[in-house]
């Protein structure tokens, strides 16, 4: 397939509208002439129009043939479109021949119009994906428009949302699947299912879990808009900043195929974006008064202190060290109702074990955690990987080893780890520090790219129109510490 053939082929969407318009005008004029004889076409004029239609249809069919050879389309659809296109062309030729016999002429014209509409719709399906009409149609009309299988029902709470189907796939559907889907898969890449993404395309793997900057899926988005390989191509709807944030988050969180969205303890920023996209309320903040009543009664029962961290927020800091050995995994389990509000937890010197750390792993808001002088081991520590907000982790005087640090590389905010009197070696700590620092650097660079792209967009707008785009004020970010 030579480049020139493709070049010509790509005129198909342009040329194809020529015969469509001509045939439509012809049909309307004939209908009007049939009612009012004064407005009837002269035979000469009809011949000119019909010949013009034949020429247009031939050109469109020719270009279409070349384009269809390219092979990145769904074969069944292309074949059908091709056959229907040539039938339309054939019928136009027939019309030229039988224009003197009005009885047949009218009927054939009607059939030609019908076939032509069907062909057009088929072409639309090729470009925009099947069911493109149904996608945004009112629910009642959807089955009529070939919506096919009903889409996934929108989840009613964030907790129900699936990390891939409800969070990632909708972004891909909106921006990518038209060209990388069932009916058309440019670059031999499909992005309409998890399996297809993992399978990759002709340029290799689209996805490297855990490494957004190595994943082709995102690299193509990061490229400047005028770069040849930027995706989606110029003129196509571009992903928004929030789309990119969601994809980045998904890939850096090891690109899970399924599972609850909230169970991954996403950043508040991501939660907010997803909640907005799905039209769902944000997860509720724990009620302060309720938490304090609970905290006071637990304080007395367990012999520990649980105090509010500020006057206004529900966030709590609990100190179980005071209870010493008497505080065990069962006592820890009784703290679980407070889990959504706990930001600081001191379990130092208590008798909690690895089993208890599974519960600690569910306290997603924890920022400071002290486990020093306890019986925990590497196995237990591995369960702390959901604690994405953890800033400080105290492990001194425990039997943890270098292996434990492995589980901590995924904690982006970790700043302090206390490892005095443990089996952890300085080398391992330095390696972890470097790993965390590198990840932070990547985050920073990504933010810089996003900021620069925004700046480019703004500046382009200013150069094109000589005015600044209207920027809506952003809601102030609210986050403790």
């Amino acid at each position: 397939m030579s480049d020139f053939a493709i070049f010509v082929g790509r005129f198909h969407p342009l040329v194809v509208h020529l015969p469509i318009g001509v045939l439509l005008v012809l049909a309307v004029t004939e209908a009007v002439g049939w009612r009012w004889s004064k407005l009837r076409l002269t035979p000469g004029a009809r011949t000119v129009i019909l010949v013009f239609a034949v020429v247009g249809a031939s050109l469109a069919a020719g270009c279409g043939w070349l384009l269809g050879q390219q092979g990145s389309y769904d074969e069944v659809l292309v074949d059908r479109h091709r056959i229907l296109g040539f039938v339309t062309l054939g019928l136009t030729v027939v019309l030229v021949v039988i224009q003197r016999w009005p009885k047949f002429y009218g009927a054939v014209l009607a059939v030609a119009l019908g076939i032509m509409s069907w062909t057009g719709h088929n072409g639309g399906a090729l470009t925009h994906g099947p069911g493109y009409l149904a996608e945004h149609a009112p629910a009642i009309l959807q089955p009529l428009l070939g919506g096919g299988e009903p889409g996934r029902p929108t989840p009613t709470t964030l907790a129900e949302a699936d990390v891939f189907l409800d969070v990632v796939q909708p972004v891909l559907n909106a921006r990518c699947v038209a060209c990388h889907g069932e009916s058309r898969s440019d670059g031999d890449l499909r992005l309409d299912s998890f399996e297809a993404i993992v399978a990759g395309g002709e340029h290799g793997d689209a996805l490297v879990p855990g490494e957004p900057s190595d994943s082709l899926l995102l690299r193509r988005l990061y490229l400047p808009l005028d770069h040849k390989e930027h995706m989606p191509p110029t003129g196509r709807p571009q992903p928004t900043d929030t789309d990119i944030v969601v994809l980045e988050w998904w890939i850096s969180d090891e690109a899970p195929a399924e599972g609850g969205f909230m169970a991954r303890s996403p950043d508040p920023e991501v939660v907010e974006i997803v909640a907005t996209q799905l039209g769902l309320p944000l997860p509720p903040i724990p009620d302060r008064a309720e938490m304090l009543v609970l905290a006071k009664s637990l304080e007395m029962q367990l012999g520990i202190t649980i105090r509010p961290l500020t006057t206004e927020d529900p966030w709590l800091g609990a100190n179980a060290r005071l209870a010493g050995d008497a505080f065990d995994d069962d006592a820890l389990a009784r703290l679980m109702p407070l889990a959504p509000a706990l930001h600081r937890l001191d379990l130092g010197g208590t008798s909690v074990t690895d089993a208890g750390l599974a519960l600690v792993g569910e306290m997603a808001g924890l920022q400071r955690l002290r486990l020093d002088d306890t019986a925990i081991t590497d196995t237990g520590l591995a369960q702390l990987s959901p604690l994405k907000r953890l800033v400080s982790l105290n492990l001194h005087s425990t039997s943890v080893t270098d292996a434990a640090l492995e589980a901590l590389t995924g904690l982006p905010r970790l700043r302090q780890i206390y490892v005095w009197q443990t089996g952890i070696t300085p080398t391992a700590v330095m390696a972890l520090a470097e790993e965390l620092e590198n990840r932070r650097k990547l985050d920073r660079y990504r933010q810089q790219i996003a900021a620069n792209q925004r700046r480019i967009a703004e500046e382009t707008f200013r150069v094109d129109f000589g005015a600044k785009p209207l920027v809506l004020p952003e809601a102030p970010e609210v986050e403790a510490e």
């Binding site: 006071k296 509010p308 961290l309 500020t310 006057t311 400071r368 001194h396 005095w420 510490e481």
Partner: protein, 481 residues
Amino acid sequence: MITPQDIKNLENHQRAWSRRTFLGKSAQAIGTLALGSIINPNLLGQQQPWRGVLDGPHFYPKAKRVVHLCMAGGPSHVDLFDPKPMLNRLHGQPFPESFTKGEQLAQLQGAELLARGAAVDFRRCGISGQMISNLLPHTQSIADDICVVRSMHTEQINHDPAHAFMNAGSINKGRPSMGSWLLYGLGSEAENLPGYVVLVSEGGGGAQPISARQWSAGFLPSKFQGVQFQSRGAPVHYVGNPDGVCQSTQRQIIDEVARLNNLQKEHSLDPEIETRVSQYELAFKMQTSVPELADLSEEPQSMLDLYGVKEAGDGSFAANCLLARRLLERGSRFVQLYHRGWDHHSKLDQNIQVASTLVDQASAALVKDLKQRGMLEDTLVIWGGEFGRTPMGQGTGRDHHINAFSVWMAGGGIRPGMTWGSTDDLGYRYLNDGQQVHVHDLHATMLACFGIDHKKLTYRYQGRDFRLTDVHGHVVNGIMT
């Protein structure tokens, strides 16, 4: 537990029993008292721990405990933390009159003023390159963990009022000390030990007496006052039961006394009754907690060596530091260690050497130990005297000096490895360069580390809202993280 309502009742009580009100409105006062006991059913209830009047700090707290290493007598800033080459050059020559004209001096008033250079050399220390005197080699080793404030100044030129000012922000009797304010505002986490503990050591010459009013609760209920532990021998005398009295008998006695006290409280609403009940309870708990606290057998020899402790309970500053760390671990809010031995009016060269040797190693060890245990991130360490010493000589020593002195702080919320503020070329006066730190500013900053807005922690007494910083104080944001 005392609620804001109780506090109002206490105020009512105060108002009710003042002479003027008593004569004028005795009937109404009695009515108020009766009402108070009706609406406070929990006046007879179980003793609950005092959770602080604030219901949580005003903003996210960095620190949750303080250890104040008070160098009583006034260490010489120009010999320890504030190198002055110009002063060394002027050594032995008349001190420029432009500095001292019309200034208040203590014992040097009217005497001939001669400049006195530093006794020893200074060295740049750590990565931060802070200048610290060779008198404090161990403090030099923690240079990157501490923040040296050179621009401190106070208003009181004699020991007792200067200590009062440093503790309570006022020399008027009856003002609560900063430890009492913290207990009043936030309560203590320690249920079995006092929340505010004072220990005193001496050595280095010029040991001025320390009055117990320095840790008084002033007009706050006296259960918030500091409790002085003995630094020599057992921290608290007579904690064991007399022969023939077992712990359960002791419990019965305490319960009965509490019942009788509560009966009395119903009638008189005197806050001191509540204090008495809670002190009995605390004393009972301390019968077991204090021997455990003072038992250093679980501390390895390496730990004793780190602090330089020769023998537990030998009355040394080192032993006090180790005890302080154990108190902080057990939840005490405020630990104050006075070292009496810095009033070097004469024989400065020898005496400052002695005093420095006595406190240097243990002070640094405390910071290192807190750091390796991960406690430094929420423990505020303050090291400094009640004032400084003159850059002018007084025979073989230096006189009291209020216009400039140095303190260092570390941990909870303080930016490490920096020097803040400066003095003039001769170390006579702080520079008014926006980095000056008055004692009130120190108090405001300390409260800010605890998440407390110093303007909002108030206590109404005699018709006026009092606070630790009175009507002054600016938070020194530059030294906070």
